[in-house]
Structures are given as C-alpha cells and as structure tokens.
C-alpha cells in the first residue's frame, strides 16, 4: 500500500507492505539509517522514534499505523546555522559534552527518548531512570547519560 508520512518535517510517500516494520521503511525506503536495529522485538530501544508526539519502538510499528503520521528521527534534531555550522539539539550537545555516547549504536534511540522526556516529563514521574528504561545501553552504565540529560534539562530548551 501507499504510505504517506511526514518525516522530520518533510512529506514522504512510499510503497510498502502494510505489515512492514516502520524501522525497515525508515532505513531501507527512506535511507534514514540513523535509527538502528537492535533486537527487533521492542526490548532494546535502538529503533526508538517519535511518532505523533509519542515515543515508539519503530521495529514494532507496522508501517500502516504510520499512515499520515508525523515522525521524528535522530536525523531531524540538529539545525543549521546561517554560516552553515551544525547546531546540535541541546540533548545531543549535552550527550557530546558529558560522554553520553560511546559506541553510538543505542545513541539515536536514547537521544529520541531523552528529547521526548524533556517535552513530557510528566510521563515519567520517577524521573530519568524511568524515562530511559526502554533503551538499553551496554557502554556507559547510564551514568554519563543521566549527567547529559541533567545538563540538557538545565539548558532548558525542549524543542
């Protein structure tokens, strides 16, 4: 079937089997490979994207559910300054400074979860540990990620 989505602010129309995971469509049809495969069963969070302002594991979303949806992926977070320099999203910037990314494979999903948490802190009353629980990281032990998120929250610019 034909699927229409808005991905990172751009309209996107693609042809796909309705049961194809959104993850595969993003990576293969849209060539947005920033979103990663980690387990294929919604446990590791590497494929996390924001769909209609909700955090989803894109490996578990049949693409038909994304029809006319607004999708945000890691590729859409940074902005370009007038001089062409890249301005990272405050969450990305804080991860960079605090060592929140090591091998980087969980990072896109983790950053999306972090961005979503700053927009909707009420969804995780117990705070960061709860907000990021769906995203496995094997490198950091999470401490540097917590420090990065605290710094991003201080930067106070939930996008």
């Amino acid at each position: 079937m034909t699927i229409r989505m808005t991905i990172n602010g751009r309209d996107c129309t693609t042809d796909a089997n309705p049961m194809t995971p959104l993850l595969d469509v993003l990576r293969e049809s849209c060539r947005l490979t920033g979103t990663k495969y980690g387990c294929g069963e919604g446990e590791c969070g590497a494929c996390t994207v924001i769909m209609n302002d909700e955090l989803v594991m894109s490996c578990l979303v049949p693409v038909m559910q994304a029809e006319v949806a607004t999708i945000e992926t890691v590729e859409g977070l940074a902005r370009m300054a007038d001089d062409g320099a890249e301005i990272l999203h405050p969450v990305q910037q804080a991860f960079l400074e605090c060592g929140g990314a090591q091998c980087g494979i969980c990072t896109p999903g983790m950053v999306m979860a972090g961005v979503h948490h700053l927009r909707h802190p009420e969804l995780a009353p117990d705070g960061l540990a709860e907000a990021l629980e769906g995203n496995l990281c094997r490198c950091t032990g999470y401490s540097a990620i917590f420090r990065a998120m605290e710094r991003a929250a201080e930067a106070g610019r939930p996008a």
Partner: protein
C-alpha cells in the same frame, strides 16, 4: 573527578576532556555502521546451523516449494581451507563431518529477497546421527593446562597455620553489544573486499587469506565500519562471518553479500565469557599473614581452541589477587566441551579468578575473626615484592590509599555498622589489579607499528589498525599525537582502519590501545615533529607526505619464559578497589546494587570523561554479570537468546556509580597511561557478593546471584 599525583600544567591536550571526535556523527545518525551501508545489488546471506551438540551430519534436505536454483548455496567444499586461523586453525568454518556444538555452520544460503532467505533457512532440514556430548568442566579432554610454581608451597601448608579452602563459580556472560555482528563482502578481480563490525582488522585479514588460500596480502581488504560495541565479542568471532560472507560472494560471482545476524542468532552462536570454577586453599598465620596459596582454576573452553589458552593464562596470572604470596601453586585447566566456543570478553579470564580470590578473602576473614579490609591490608603487594611469576613489583601500588579513599567516599564503616549483618542491606569491598597489554612475550610477537603522516592539505593523519569501538581510540590518539607534535588537535585526523592502508598496530584488545599503541603514537609524533623541524605541515609535505613510524620495543628487563611461566607477565599493572552497596527485598529476595564506588590507578588519565565512561560502563557490566545476567545453558547452548530473557541492566536497574582516579604514571605508556578498558570488570562481582553475604548471611560462592539462590 580526579586526584592528580602531579600538576603538569604545560600539557595542552593530554589530561583534558577533549570532546569525542566522532561524537557528533554518532549523535546525529550520520555514522555509518555496516548495516547502514547501501550496497546496490547485494544479496542477503543466512547461515544454516547445527541443532545438536555432538554427532554427525547425515543428510541435508532442501524441501520443495522454494526456487532453490535461484539461491546461492555454499559449504565446506567451496572453501580452499575449511579453517578459521587464529592461535591454531582447529575451528572449521563449516562442520567438517563431526558436529562439535549446536551452533556450527553447516552451509550458507543467499538470495536477493531477504524475506525468502529467512523462510528458506527455516525450511532446510538436517538429519543427524547423535553422539553424547561433554558438558561442563572436569570431564572430557583438557584443551590447555598451565602451571605456576613459586616458593615452598608444600611447606607453607605443613606447619600448623590456618588452612582454609573454598570453591567458587562464575557463569557465562553474553556481550550484548547493541549492534549485532555483520559483514558485507564482494570480490574485485582476484581479491575480496570486506566491510564489517569488528575490533581487529588484521585478525580478519589473516583468517580470510588463510581460508581462501590467497597468496598476496592485497587480495584481502578489510575495512572497519563504525562498530556498535565489542567488549571482546568482536575480537576473534567476526573472522567467521568474514569468511562466510566472502564465500557466498565468491559463489555469487563476486556480487556483494550482506551477512548480518539478527539478535537471536547473534546471542546463540557468538562467543561468551568462559564459565569458571576455582578452588582455592590458603595458608596463613592466625593473624592473617599469608604463607601460601594453592589455586586450581578451571574454565570451559567450548568446542574449539579459539583464544582460550590466553584467557586461561590471564586468569591464572591474576588468580592470586594483588597480595604477597610467599609460596604458590597455581594450576589452570581449560576444558573442551560441546558448547559453542567461549571467547574474549573484557577482562579475559581475570574477572573470573579475581572474583574467586576476593570472595575467598572475605570468607577467610570471617573464619579468622578479622575485618576483611584489615586482612587485605596485612598482605597487599608493595613495591619490591615478588609475584608468583618472580616479577618484582616496580612501583608502589598504594593499595591502602586506594582502599581508604573508597571507604571514605562510600562512608563504608559508618554505614556497615548502622545496617548490621543480615538485615537486607550491606556493603562489600574488593581489591584487584590488571596487567596492561598482551601477556608475557605477546607484545613482542605482535610487533605493532603505527604511522603518522603529514600531508599536503595541512593535516597529520594517524594510521593504525586500532579501532574505535566506543572507548575513544580516535580521540585519545588525536590528543596524544597533537601533544607530541605540538600542534593544534584540529590538524589531526584518523584514518579509517583498512588493512593495507594502515600498518598493523595489533588488535584492539587487552587494555593495550591507549597505553601501548598510544605510546607508539607518542613516539611517532615526537619523531615526526623532528622531521618537520618547525615547518608547517602543508609546506613540509608539499612534495610528498612526511611519514614517521614507530615500532614496539619491549621495555628493558621485560623478559618472559613461556615454558616455565616465570618472568615479567606484564609491563605495567593497573590497580583498583570497588565498594558495592546492596539491598535485598525481604519478600522477593530481589537484589539491587544501589551504589558502587571505584577508585582506580590507570596511570595517566589521558581524557577524564572518556576514562570515567570506560570505568562506569565496565562496572555496570560487572554488576550485570554478578546479578541479572544468567546464560541458561542446555547441552552447552544458550537458551535465552533474546534481550527479553537475557537481562542486562537498564537505566532503572543502574547503580549509582562514583569514580575517582589515583595516578601513578607508567614510564612505558603514552604520557604515563596504563590499561583502563578491562580492569572495571575485575572488581564488581566480588564486591557485590561480599555485600550480599553481609546483608543476608548467605555464603555466596557463585555468580550470578539469583533471587532463587537467596531464598533457598
């Protein structure tokens, strides 16, 4: 936070938290991992595996209903040498008639329709003749045996001192790098091009060249793509995928083939940390002064040799802990079993044996009626002491200072007396050490080379086969090179590792990258600085690159005898102490590690943010191994091959981690650096187990510590 032993202010980059160089690419999704490569026309490959642990393959059936003539099918007969060359070449790339474990490749298939490949793979039927297998240690055949003899160990147990024995076990551990293993291969002319996720490009090169019986080095070109975690799991194992993907491509006339594992396949077939069984017998005075130790250290090697002999070696060499043993008998045994081969995992045997000795000391202290910290202090290694291999400790380890700092930061004594024993909450401590780099003469055999090249566009390029796998290789090497050259770090770039294009600086393993390879980068930088003689980079290299190479030279006095197992096992040692604070739910017995403190001497801290990241991440892996990471084996094979049922710590499980460094600089390491990558795995299990024993009164002797064990 860093406690600095000196205050050198003249260093511009070393010692500073320079931002991770490839960090922005990783954070924006630009970094290219192997599965992100867009390779037009690529086929998708899949491995057909054994499902029994021992026996023979009788027949392979390709059921009707699939267009088999469209498939590429490859097997052992297609490979000039059905061997994965490593220390030995005993592991075949495909079952060689005899099945030795339940995840061996029988054949490979490939097709352009990925979905069809997966369906077809499930449909293929293999008929077997079954044999009984060997599962578990101390049965079957010994794969490798090692012995260390030191002093009069028989006499130490003969004169009426306190003799105390114990038996300790550790489970397997799965790496769970979040990026699964993968390679993409194609042939160009008579050579093969391989892009993949791995730690050691030249290991892959050697294995592929051997398997295809190629004559020239330039017939195999291995490139490392951005690698989503390794932890040892991508040290030797990726060679197998590289051979498989190259073979499918060759059968497909050179067409590209993607061989990328899904999670369940990766967890089922890939290497894991060796399970261990350690028996310790100690002799000491009633006051707790050590007289002698006898250690039998066993590990399960699985079905093939792989790296098990060297894992056994490092485990045995660290089995006495950082203590003075006047006499020692240490015997190591690695056993062949019908499990998939166990392999490299961060720590490489030392976390297993150091768990055993550190748990043993707490149990011994209880028997002696001495505080476990005091017992350790009476026996700590000091400068000038002799290790069981006759190596003299060349620096003052300052273990008392390290331990005292850990006790102070954790408020250990006050908390412990407040909680009281057996009340569901408690603290535990461990002290440990880790040798930097390959064991014994290993670094000499590696003969590592690095190159720095000043190029016409004004950059100095670092050329090494040492890989960035998340630990920060690119960043710390740029810091070291810029410091040595006396130039801006912005003028340094890192050549993507590709065999042939970069010299062989050895594998990215054994806590050797920053310290040892970084030391070569430092030397090459100083040399290039002299060659540049004050000219700017572009001017000096206008007529061609200016190149400096540095080759490994053993530090003076670093002599090792492989036959007697005596000599200097390592050129430098890192030291550390962990304190764990745990709580146990009184009803469910759920174990939670609330906090962990770690004080480490890793020599010069080149980049504090990256070093803390290494240490914290390793502590979390160690906590996971001690608590929730339970590899469930059935006839040698892992059953819980999903992240839903093999549990690694999540953010909600994460212990609060506190890290500080004590710096004793290593004269042979980069600007004084020692090993950092692996020591974080050595301490957490025993610290947790000692804390759980205090909190519950249960005499913990094995990890993982499961709630059902605490309720039993």
């Amino acid at each position: 936070m860093t406690i600095s032993a000196d205050s050198e202010t003249k260093l511009r980059y070393v010692g500073r938290s320079v931002t991770r160089r490839e960090g922005a690419d990783k954070l924006t999704g630009r970094s290219r991992y192997v599965d992100d490569m867009h390779v037009p026309g690529a086929l998708t490959g899949r491995t057909i595996r054994t499902s029994i642990p021992a026996g023979r393959v009788r027949n392979v059936r390709f059921p009707d209903g699939f267009p088999w003539d469209e498939f590429i099918v490859a097997g052992p007969d297609d490979l000039p040498a059905n061997e994965v060359a490593l220390i030995t070449a005993d592991q075949p790339a495909f079952v060689d008639g005899i099945v030795r474990h339940a995840q061996e490749a029988v054949l490979l298939i490939a097709h352009e329709d990925a979905g069809l490949v997966h369906e077809a793979a499930r449909a293929i039927e293999i008929e077997y003749e079954r044999d009984a297998g060997v599962f578990g240690m101390e049965q079957g055949h010994v794969l490798k045996q090692l012995a260390i003899r030191h002093g009069d160990f028989e006499g130490a147990f003969a004169n009426g001192d306190v003799i105390f024995e114990g038996e300790y076990r550790t489970g397997a551990q799965e790496h769970v790098y979040i990026e699964t293993n993968g390679f993409i291969a194609w042939w160009e002319g008579d050579g093969v091009v391989l892009h993949g996720s791995h730690q050691c490009p030249y290991y892959v090169h050697k294995a592929v060249k051997h398997a295809f019986a190629l004559d020239r080095d330039d017939q195999v070109r291995v490139t490392q793509e951005t690698t989503g975690g390794g932890f040892g799991g991508k040290e030797e194992f990726p060679s197998l995928l590289a051979i498989h993907s190259a073979l499918l491509s060759r059968k497909a006339g050179g067409r590209p083939v993607r061989l990328i594992y899904d999670r369940a396949e990766d967890m089922a077939c890939s290497t894991k940390r060796h399970p261990s069984l350690t028996r310790i017998r100690t002799a000491c005075t009633p006051e707790g002064v050590f007289k002698g130790v006898e250690i039998d250290f066993h590990i399960d090697g699985g079905a093939y040799v792989t790296l098990s002999p060297v894992v056994l070696s490092r485990g045995l060499l660290h089995s006495g802990g950082p203590y003075l043993w006047p006499a020692a008998r240490m015997d190591g045994y690695c056993w062949f079993t019908n499990s998939p081969p166990y392999g490299a995992f961060r720590g490489f045997g030392a976390p297993q044996s150091e768990f055993a000795i550190e748990r043993h000391l707490d149990r011994l202290a209880a028997k002696l009626g001495i505080c476990p910290i005091e017992l350790r202090k009476r026996n700590f290694l000091r400068k000038g002491d002799m290790l069981p291999t006759s190596q003299i400790v060349g620096e003052e380890p300052e273990l008392e200072r390290i331990v005292e700092r850990a006790l102070e930061l954790s408020d250990y004594r006050a908390k412990q007396s407040g909680y009281g024993e057996g009340n569901g909450r408690g603290l535990g401590l461990s002290v440990f050490y880790h040798g930097t780099g390959f064991t014994g003469s290993g670094e000499v055999y590696l003969d590592s080379v690095v190159a720095l090249e000043a190029q016409a566009d004004g950059f100095v390029e670092i050329q090494v086969s040492s890989t960035e796998i998340g630990q920060g290789t690119e960043t710390v090497f740029a810091q070291i090179a810029a410091e040595g050259l006396g130039i801006d770090i912005e003028s340094i770039r890192f050549r993507k590792p590709e065999t042939g294009a970069v010299p062989d600086s050895g594998p990215t393993v054994a806590s050797r990258t920053c310290s040892i390879v970084g030391g070569l980068v430092e030397r090459a930088a100083r040399q290039l600085r002299e060659q540049l003689a004050g000219r700017d980079i572009a001017t000096a290299s206008a007529t061609g690159p200016v190149r400096a190479e540095a080759r490994y030279q053993a530090p003076p006095g670093l002599v090792w005898n492989d036959d007697t197992y005596q000599g200097c096992a390592y050129g430098a040692y890192s030291w550390g102490c962990n304190v764990a604070e745990v709580s146990i739910d009184p009803v469910t017995a759920e174990l939670r590690v609330e906090s962990m403190w770690g004080i480490y001497d890793i020599g010069r801290v080149i980049n504090p943010v990256l070093a803390i990241g290494q240490v914290e991440g390793g502590m979390a892996q160690g906590i996971g191994w001690a608590t929730c990471e339970d590899v469930v084996l059935k006839e040698g094979a892992m059953q819980n091959t999903r992240v839903t049922n093999y549990i690694i710590p999540t953010s909600a499980d994460a212990a609060e981690l506190f890290v500080e460094f004590v710096e004793h600089h290593n004269p042979c390491g980069a600007f004084g650096a020692k090993g950092v990558g692996e020591i974080p795995l050595d301490g957490p299990p025993a610290a947790v187990a000692n804390a759980v024993t205090f909190a519950t009164g249960k005499d913990i002797a094995a990890i993982p510590i499961r709630p059902e064990d605490l309720l039993a």
